[in-house]
Symmetry: C2
Subunit: 308 residues, 2 copies
């Protein structure tokens, strides 16, 4: 699957991913109102608004981008109906040829991690039948529990030709509370980077591994170190745009081949119509505002890539 991601990046010349994290406050009034007219102010109504919002953004951007990253929490908060909208979004994006990174940050141990891997990347057995369930292409995984939590994901990745991105150095201000602690003379995120490299070596697919890492755009110095430490690891980089990461910060996240990183923006793209810069589109043409924001983001990032 990492080869499909690479091929999509090369086709679009755009190492970017659009984060589909639809908070209701991002969804224009006319989309919400239409959904509530049909389903009432219910969880079903909210799910319909989310789905229509996502569909418009995907329809307006899919030809420019290699991948999307739906954040499952934003759907899970609307319960079963929200998760149906998540699944519908995953399926629709795959139909459009996009790589889908399920930002699920799951992680547990043994048979429980295996169940999460099955849910998001694998197939579940029911009697004599098997079913794909959420069926994303990649999932994000939390490494706090160690190899026991990761191994079941590796097994499913190999079997189903899927991939994962493991949290290493997250983009948020307090990520250092644990991840920057010094142990054995080095910060935890470096030790975690080494583990990701080792796990990844068992799952190579061409020059890159199906085991990627998450490293925040807000920590460019750490990104530079981790890039060198994990040469065959694709880095999923959140924190660009609304969280403060800039294109110029990203140059060291890439390898000399111009690959090895994919930069996520969520709010900055999907709620672009709310920014002054894209206000001319208005809430009515929010999808076109997202398209313009994607074009600007690609330009900004490719300028950084030119400096590799």
């Amino acid at each position: 699957m990492i080869q499909k991601l690479i091929s999509n990046i090369q086709k679009t010349n755009a190492p970017v991913v659009v984060g589909l994290d639809p908070m209701l406050s991002y969804i224009p009034p006319q989309v919400q109102e239409k959904a509530y007219e049909q389903f009432g102010e219910t969880l079903e109504g909210a799910a319909e608004a989310i789905w229509q919002f996502n569909k418009e953004i995907v329809d307006c951007t899919w030809d420019l981008i290699p991948a999307v990253k739906p954040q499952i929490a934003m759907y899970e908060q609307f319960g079963i109906e929200g998760l149906k909208a998540y699944k519908k979004t995953v399926d629709y994006c795959k139909e459009k040829g996009l790589v889908v990174i399920g930002d699920v940050k799951r992680g547990d141990i043994g048979s429980t991690s295996a169940a999460y891997a099955t849910a998001h990347l694998g197939k579940v057995q029911v009697g004599s039948k098997t079913y794909s369930v959420f069926d994303e292409d990649f999932a994000t995984v939390n490494p706090y529990l160690g190899t026991d939590g990761i191994q079941p994901f590796l097994d499913v990745c190999r079997q189903e030709k899927k991939g994962i991105f493991i949290l290493v150095k997250t983009s948020n201000p307090s990520s250092g509370e644990l991840q920057d602690k010094i142990s054995e003379g080095r910060p935890i995120y470096e030790l975690m980077g080494e583990k990701v490299r080792a796990w990844g070596e068992t799952c190579m697919d061409g020059d890159y591994s199906c085991v990627g890492a998450v490293v925040g755009a807000t920590y460019p110095e750490q990104g530079k170190i981790l890039r060198k430490l994990m040469p065959h690891t694709f880095i999923l980089v959140p924190g660009y745009g609304a969280q403060g990461g800039k294109g110029a910060d990203l140059v060291h996240f890439f390898n000399p081949d111009g690959l090895g990183a994919i930069i996520n923006s969520s709010r900055g793209i999907i709620a672009a119509y709310k920014q002054e810069k894209y206000a001319k589109f208005g809430a009515e043409y929010f999808g076109q505002a997202s398209r313009a924001a994607v074009e600007d983001m690609i330009k900004d990032i490719n300028e950084a890539r030119m400096r590799i």
Copy 2:
């Protein structure tokens, strides 16, 4: 909510929690067959088998126990249908007066963590209406992302009188890869224990905090240290039974008041009929086998508590 948990523990004199982690391989053939006759070998059929299995176990044990801990991964692997069975199980257990600990191990940052907290403990707003969604009493939370990931859960706990258990030292063999790393002269799990204590101080409810910790029964020495480090923290202790933890290992997880810990067993209870010790019940009376296993577990743990 921690006071409700304490009250349930005192009423039953049983600091135990039954882990409702229904792998299909634990569900007796007659339960599966009946569900498949009705719904086919489908995700809906699997969900029905899980629900009927859970219901029988709850019906046979609810009067002996204070709480249950459904593991959401085991439901999530069957997709939307599985999650409907999860929700049905949560609701049914709450109707029976049980405290429900959603073992969801969620954790993210900012608005995303807030969405998870809303999904599992809070209420979501849709237009002018609000809805409770999965609505467990407690949720387990992963601390890899630091305070940014925890704070939204604390806010919801205070608002909704709910609680969380934060992963500190997990029961699995490889938990030490990260959690035992030495930093500032102390293992990470101790530093995390101090953070849990500090977070918990902002959410007290009587003698205990609504912020608990997860510490595995398989690490009794670490449990002893963490017990002293976090005197007002309730400890959720997995790893008893099938994972190798014994009653005698558990004495130091309790406070002198006989409280402060609740011991989980999943497979050891829900698949008891498969053990030689309870084989006399047969697959047909699997619920009664679970009841006998709960009675034995309570006895074993109360013997340990007598030695506090």
